[in-house]
């Protein structure tokens, strides 16, 4: 086929951060096909050096305004792992609730605000304000509800205050549990039309087999907060060996490092999780998945959005279940702790290394801290889901472009944009690329 196509999207809209799409086809031959990540590195790992593990979660929470709870939880998990602290069952349950709220909030916004406009044939979410105002209001109502529950649970809409190393400074009172339940039950009302909308969206047809990576476990629970790292290619390893999965490498056009495991790239996120743990989803989520024809292993990356919808139902139902259990069984308020910077040595500290591996909205997030005997961070490493997806996005683009050369340039450009958006990339968060050598003066 002799066709020339030149796509240069600078910057891609409806994603967080700055990324460019570059495609160059000459005489039907793909010469260039890249996702350029042009954000500056943010040096959070450098900022953590010399800081206490008891303040790390407040610092890393600021990596992302939408995954603030995920970073908080990965940070706490890495810190607790490093010093050998084992959280109580109640603490783990409350942390699961926090993670559900964030995944639900983020997925809702991605589905409604960023993906739906493409599938409804408008250029952005803004025209929908006039044509589908009730839909827009529903999306923001659901988002607000998640934020409000987060506020009740951890003290703020974003950037939690009360979730700390060792547990929670404040535990929900009976009336707080009732408030959270009431708010979440209001989301249930809005979830029905959300499912209808999701089921009506027509996603582009495209298949590319790849490796899907996420948390796995041997229990019945859909793993989000703990487990081993697994893949659809059969990899399974302890979270401490995460670098054997990520195998980060630098490419010239990206300030986000690329990753690969068994193949030349892998995908993380809702689709990876659903592919790996479909049977463990809440029955209501599985029912909707079956109704919209999403089953493992789905290899169409555009359906990451459909997988997010399925996870919304799972997170909502599991959150309500957790809260009802607290309502029935009560909360052990004796577990509330105030640690500060652990000045009083309330939590025993020792030197060590620890890893946090948490499934946040865009995929598995790793934090690793090396800690000295005083609990100060000597070294830190944070590997963000979007960084892990960048390589896979490019491989998808490289397969998709030759398959759609019969379309005109605008259609190809839109498809490329939709593909990248399907991954819900958080580009600013992904940018960590420089290996900085510190020289003692």
């Amino acid at each position: 086929m002799s066709k020339n196509v030149k796509v240069n999207v600078e910057y891609l809209t409806r994603v967080e951060g700055h990324g460019n799409i570059v495609v160059n086809v000459k005489n039907g031959k793909l010469e260039e096909c890249r996702l350029d990540i042009v954000e500056s590195p943010r040096f959070f790992e450098g900022m953590l050096r010399g800081r206490s593990i008891f303040e790390a979660q407040h610092i890393t929470s600021r990596i992302c305004g939408i995954c603030a709870c995920g970073h908080t939880l990965a940070s706490i998990q890495a810190a607790e792992d490093a010093i050998g602290f084992i959280p109580t069952e109640q603490t783990i349950k409350l942390r699961k609730l926090l993670l559900h709220l964030e995944n639900l909030d983020s997925h809702i916004l991605h589905i409604y605000l960023l993906v739906a406009p493409d599938l409804l044939g408008v250029k952005s979410f803004v025209p929908l304000i006039h044509t589908h105002n009730d839909v827009v209001r529903r999306a923001l109502r659901m988002k607000k509800a998640c934020n409000d529950v987060c506020d009740v649970l951890v003290g703020r809409h974003v950037h939690p205050i009360s979730a700390i190393v060792g547990g929670f400074t404040k535990l929900p009172k009976e009336k707080d549990i009732d408030t959270m339940l009431e708010i979440l039950e209001s989301i249930q009302v809005d979830m029905a039309p959300t499912i209808e909308l999701g089921a009506s969206l027509k996603f582009p047809e495209f298949q590319r087999e790849t490796e899907y990576v996420g948390l796995v476990n041997d229990t019945d629970e859909y793993p989000l907060l703990s487990g081993d790292i697994g893949s659809t290619d059969g990899l399974r390893m302890d979270k401490h060996d995460y670098k054997k999965i990520t195998n980060e490498f630098v490419v010239p056009h990206s300030s986000a490092k690329h990753t690969k495991a068994s193949r030349d790239s892998y995908m993380v996120g809702a689709l990876a999780r659903v592919n790996l743990n479909f049977e463990k989803l809440h029955p209501k989520a599985k029912k909707v998945a079956n109704a919209i024809g999403l089953k493992p292993i789905t290899t169409n990356p555009f359906l990451n959005t459909a997988a997010q919808l399925i996870e919304c139902i799972h997170s909502l139902e599991d959150s309500i279940k957790i809260l009802k259990e607290f309502k029935n069984d009560g909360v052990d308020y004796a577990q509330a702790i105030t640690v500060g910077l652990n000045e009083n040595g309330q939590i025993p500290v020792k030197a060590g290394k620890g890893v946090g591996a948490v499934e946040v909205p865009r995929g598995i997030l790793f934090h690793e801290y090396e800690v000295d005997k005083k609990g100060m961070i000597v070294n830190a490493n944070c590997i963000i889901p979007t960084g892990q997806n960048c390589n896979n996005i490019e491989k998808d683009m490289q397969k998709l472009v030759p398959e759609v050369l019969d379309k005109n340039q605008d259609e190809i450009t839109l498809l490329m944009e939709m593909l990248v958006r399907a991954y819900d990339p958080c580009i600013s968060c992904s940018a960590h690329f420089l290996n900085v050598k510190y020289i003692d003066c």
Partner: protein
């Protein structure tokens, strides 16, 4: 903070509060709503919440401190159905520190729309679909929006003036 686009450079400015703005600050508690926006951990970006704190004890005043999540106030605003909404936020229009300007809605760029940030004029467009209301973006020129608590002297002075004018207009 509102990023005004394209940046309007205003060099000659004698008053931080012009006569038209002082007129706008005369509040009718029955029909007006004040919305404060901003992040108190970013120095002068906290001017909105500072004004809200200064006004929160005034009986009958309709006031929402939206903080850093203004998109969460939509349903509350629609249910209050005010005839007029004054939104206070820091706005970089390259004016004198502490100066107040009415920011035209079309000067607020929508390019930042993502799951992480929803521009104020998108939020007001959603509100306008449901209620008929006049909306004024009251932009206050910050000196600094760096991480940190507390307002600069210039911005605090303006904020205190705004609080006082509103208070007097209601309590007269």
């Amino acid at each position: 903070m509102i990023l005004v686009f394209p940046v309007q450079r205003i060099f000659l400015m004698l008053n931080t509060l012009t006569a038209d703005i002082i007129e706008l600050l005369k509040i009718n508690p029955d029909s007006d709503l004040i919305v404060a926006v901003g992040n108190s951990f970013r120095s002068d970006d906290g001017v909105g919440p500072y004004i809200a704190q200064g006004l929160e004890r005034i009986k009958d005043l309709k006031l929402i401190n939206a903080g850093y999540t203004p998109e969460n106030i939509i349903e509350d605003v629609i249910s209050l159905a005010p005839k007029r909404i004054l939104i206070f936020d820091a706005a970089d229009f390259r004016g004198k520190f502490g100066a107040v300007r009415i920011i035209p809605e079309d000067k607020i760029p929508q390019t930042t729309l993502s799951t992480h940030a929803i521009p104020l004029n998108v939020i007001t467009a959603i509100i306008r679909q449901s209620i008929q209301t006049e909306i004024y973006f009251m932009g206050i020129q910050p000196k600094s929006v760096c991480l940190g608590e507390g307002l600069s002297e210039e911005v605090k002075k303006t904020a205190d003036q705004i609080i006082e004018i509103i208070r007097k207009s209601i309590l007269k």
